[in-house]
């Protein structure tokens, strides 16, 4: 997987060789604890954590039909599939299209209207924050459902923390209204073109976006029968 600005028309969606998986973290030691020495003798063990790699055709099942129909629909509008879709990941029998944000509206409109696709229902939008992926820290994940074809599809759109803008898809799927407000509230992604992008769960004057990884969980130590229990984010943790 490559970053947004590096990906060109002949990207993973059309590639014939298996692209490399994106490494998101390296973990050391045996137990994943960080607050004490590793006495197991495996302290030097290094494991890499990589996201599921982009897939190449054939994707299997009905996923190829989705890709073909989307390619045809976009071609009718004069867009190459590779221009709009950075990569395709098929993992655990679910398909994810990584869509470039500037092409998002075209893609969702095709997905909703194209007779062979017909994703009538947007199930939801959820944000994910990957602070270590520089240049694409914030992800908005769209879950689509086609009742006609009984299929699901996931779109993933990224934006950098420094420029947290993604076009709003409320005009295509009105149900995205509250979902996008929630994602703005919790992650700080600004959905351009949203009719009223205000906070929805947190109070209007709340500072910060609570679901981001750099936002602390908070909490106070609690004393119970003489023992003091630390707040959850300061307890010993394993990764």
């Amino acid at each position: 997987m490559t970053t947004n600005d590096e990906s060109g028309p002949d990207d993973a969606a059309l590639a014939t060789t298996a692209p490399q998986a994106e490494v998101v973290a390296h973990r050391q030691g045996m137990f994943g604890a960080h607050d004490a020495g590793d006495t197991s003798g495996y302290g030097g063990l290094v494991r890499t954590v990589a996201l599921p790699p982009p897939s190449v055709r054939p994707f299997g099942g009905s996923f190829d039909a989705v890709a073909d129909a989307l390619e045809a629909a976009l071609a009718a509008d004069g867009t190459e599939l590779g221009d709009a879709v950075g990569s395709v990941v098929v993992d655990r029998d679910e398909m994810t299209l990584h869509v470039h944000r500037e092409r998002l509206l075209e893609v969702v409109r095709a997905l909703r209207d194209e007779p062979d696709l017909r994703f009538e229902l947007l199930s939801g939008v959820s944000g994910v924050h990957y602070p270590q992926e520089s240049g694409r820290e914030l992800h908005a994940v769209y879950h689509l459902l086609s009742i006609t074809n009984n299929r699901r599809l996931r779109l993933e759109v990224t934006c950098p923390d420094a420029d947290p803008h993604i076009p709003s898809i409320v005009e295509v799927y009105p149900t995205a209204d509250w979902h996008e407000r929630e994602t703005w509230d919790f992650f700080g992604i600004q959905f351009d073109g949203h009719p009223a992008l205000t906070r929805i769960e947190m109070p209007d004057d709340w500072p910060g976006h609570p679901q981001r990884k750099d936002y602390p969980l908070g909490g106070i130590p609690v004393e119970y029968k003489g023992a003091t229990i630390a707040p959850p984010d300061t307890r010993r943790s394993y990764s």
């Binding site: 939801g124 944000g127 609570p210």
Partner: protein, 452 residues
């Protein structure tokens, strides 16, 4: 209160201050004589008023704030204010192990705890790749509990909906039925709500030996209660007068607004995830997907009644299967299966003394496994999944992301109440204010799930 000045000349703490003037005159109705308020409002000679209904109002189905612009009794604009029950459950789940997550998500929609548990556990199992290894008995118990939960949830929807339109007998009769089901839950899981009984890989423990007899024994009462409620409401002219053609939302509206569940089925579309994307072995049970064609609140009431009866059908099939299906209720993989050897002691439910004797006295390895699993938890391979189940309110889904660690990297719940509430404006604008109550009740939002 740093940058706001308190105006001493105004004795209304909730009224507008000089620094933030309100648009028009503000009336505060907090008890007192309504005639006075009405006369004062009438003296302005203006019919258009904006009313804040809620967040604390007995007819808004929870801490929901409805902002209604009224022209006389007609609602010209309706908006929802939510967030009053936001507790940061999703954020909290990122700081607990995968197993502890169940304890959190069960508290979201407090009327359907077992659906959140099931959706979350199915998602974890999908990430782990052990969906097919979950023992059959565990799946049957999951279906059994979910369907009982569907009855109690629909029952509360009907009961509180009845209360909100003034039919208090529907409420008292409904809560009597709910009590029968909560007794079953208490017997099986130890708790009436917030069970944390379904765990990744299976269940916390098997059914008590007496459970099947208890459930069988309760079914006639449950069936009779449903029947009584139906006789009380279905053809009742007052109920029909309030519900028929109220809260209208057609198929196109449901699709655009993402509305699922009984509201979608009341438009005639047989959309039910138990049929379309079966999980927990739903494809092997006999039941009908109930639809109605009126797209209104009355159709949704009838659908809920019919679905309760279909759930009873499934419960009976589950009981028959449970008698023939012995077996574990947790996956065999000891790296995932939490020690589920629980027993009732003098101080309540806890680890069984036999289990403690074994791990402390005879098996060092079992002790290490127990300790590691409970303190550290298990690791889940990196990736993301989306798992949906058909909750009583519609599509309840979990978007779960793992970074390969012992905790969820991100857990997002697509709660059906949250999505369905968006339909309030489409259902209520142009109707009478009394119909807003009926429309909201027919959506059956549960604010614990909306706000999470």
């Amino acid at each position: 209160m740093t940058d706001r000045t308190i105006d001493d000349t105004v004795d209304d703490a909730y009224g507008a201050t000089e620094s933030e003037p309100a648009e028009g005159k503000v009336f505060t109705a907090a008890g007192g004589d309504w005639t006075d308020i009405a006369e004062e409002a009438a003296s302005l000679g203006e019919e258009r008023i904006v009313v804040n209904m809620g967040p604390q109002h007995p007819s808004t189905h929870g801490v929901l704030r409805l902002i209604l612009e009224l022209d006389g009794e007609t609602v010209t604009e309706a908006r929802c204010g939510i967030g009053y029950l936001h507790t940061g459950i999703e954020k909290n789940m990122e700081f607990r192990t995968w197993t502890q997550g169940v304890t959190f998500c069960t508290r979201m929609d407090y009327l359907t705890p077992l659906y959140q548990e099931a959706a979350y556990c199915l998602a974890v199992e999908k990430l782990l790749g052990i969906t097919d290894e979950v023992p059959e008995r565990a799946s049957i118990v999951r279906v059994l509990l979910m369907e009982l939960n569907r009855i109690s949830s629909h029952d509360v929807a009907i009961a509180t909906g009845g209360m909100e339109i003034g039919a208090l007998t529907v409420m008292t009769a409904g809560f009597r039925l709910r009590e029968r089901i909560l007794k079953i839950f208490e017997h099986v899981t130890g708790l009436r709500m917030n069970h944390a009984f379904i765990r990744p890989g299976g269940l916390a423990q098997d059914l008590p030996k007496t459970a099947i007899d208890l459930i069988r024994g309760s079914l006639p009462d449950i069936r009779a209660d449903i029947s009584d409620l139906e006789k009380l409401s279905n053809e009742n002219p007052l109920v029909k007068g309030r519900l028929v053609d109220v809260g209208y939302l057609d198929l196109a509206g449901c699709m655009a607004l993402g509305v699922t569940g009984p509201v979608l089925r009341s438009t005639g579309l047989p959309h039910d995830l138990r049929r379309l994307e079966p999980y927990c072995g739903y494809e092997t049970y006999d039941f009908d997907v109930v639809t109605w064609d009126s797209s209104d609140a009355y159709g949704r009431l009838r659908i809920r009644f019919e679905e309760m009866k279909q759930s009873l059908r499934i419960v009976e099939q589950c009981l028959t299967r449970l008698e023939q299906t012995p077996g574990p209720v947790m996956v065999g993989d000891k790296k995932i299966a939490w020690p589920a050897q629980l027993a009732i002691g003098s101080d309540g439910m806890g680890n069984s003394l036999d289990h403690i004797r074994e791990i402390m006295g005879t098996s060092m390895e079992a002790l290490i496994h127990h300790f590691k699993l409970v303190t550290e938890g298990f690791r889940v391979p990196v990736g993301q999944v989306y798992q949906a189940v058909e909750s009583p309110r519609g599509e309840l889904a979990v978007h779960l992301v793992s970074d390969g660690g012992t905790r969820p990297y991100r857990a997002h719940f697509r709660d059906p109440s949250f999505v369905n509430l968006q339909a309030v404006a489409a259902m209520c604008e142009g109707s009478q204010i009394a119909d807003v109550i009926v429309a909201v009740a027919s959506l059956d939002p549960v604010m614990g799930g909306v706000d999470r």
